[in-house]
Amino acid sequence: MTGRFPYRVFIPVPQASIDDANQLALCLGAVPADGQTFGHDWAQDAAGNLYSWAAPVVTSEWLAALSAPIVAPSFAPDADLAAASRAAALLEIHPIAAAVPAAPDRVCAILSANVPNYLAANLAAAGLTPAQI
């Protein structure tokens, strides 16, 4: 891997967990708007279950921070830590070569290289197709 931001993390969040995932994104983010990360781009699995996805460009440090205790950031002291913890409990991250298909009861994130055309391969690895809401 080269570059300061070597990775993409494709994160498909089941529809029922979007609010929780947004609280986790807020706690891991840098600005209050990060609490609205999920709910814009959508995909669905073969059974028709919906997922909202985001695909941040990240550093190795960002990945390491996932294992640290979840705390409310200074810009959002009232972040819902219980919701963020629920989302974190569902989160698994797998390299794209060993990706686990998306499922309604978990958040199966996919780690891949930060390259321009990442999306098609990540959607396929997750067993998803784009969806419009």
């Binding site: 814009h40 985001a54 460009v57 390259v115």
Partner: protein, 272 residues
Amino acid sequence: MIRQGSAILRPKGGGAFRARGPFTPARLFGGGQGGIFLDFADLSTLYTDLAGTVPATADTDPIRYVADLSGTGNHLNSMFTSTSPIYSEAGGQPGAFFSAGTSERLLRNASYGGAPLGLSGVNGITIAAAFTSASTSPLLRAHDGAVGSANDYIDLLSSAGNGCSIRNYSAGFAANRATVNNSGFSDTTGAPFVVVMQKDATEGRHYRNGVLIETDTGLADPWAANFNSIIDLRNGAGIGGFVFSLFIIAEAIGPAALDDLTGFLMGRAGLA
């Protein structure tokens, strides 16, 4: 003063010659016009954080803030930390690569502050961009920020069906477009190109790669639309693509300046 060999040249009447460097579109804003000029090939204008404090320095860095070079302060941010284009040299020409996510965009609105575009009630507009063709999703949408049927839009697309337009949405596309759809503009092959739209008093013009491909007449003058609040720059919802540079000014710039601007953008797109 300019030195030529060992001689020192002085202009008539004394004083010094003013040295002129290579053309840059930023020079066209000398009259205080509203607008925006983004140059994604210029790494010094790109930042990896939403606040614009951490410079981008390398290929594949995320672009979460891009500085406006027009002098009017219309800097753009990505929506969230997790949704941003990347600076990429993968296509041979440096630029911002927007992938297919609909939330992967750069925009400016009231929540981010900054100056308005200053395009209200003007009689001339020039919009120019160097980018790769992508999808049916607009590359650029500038509008008045009022969600609903009364919006005014500047749209720039590479798709059939809409083409490029400067329009008053509420009054219908055909009656108020400065430039109507041009079917010859449809191109989603991923090829780079340069598009320029102009409204010059009652006339609208549409250029592609420096060639005039369409002219409209009978446009309202001054243009009453209020393109003031939001710039929404993306290249997604399809195959994704590059944006190399974007330029908007509240003026129908003259032929010489238009040639200079087109040449600059052709260079950014790798076409010159």
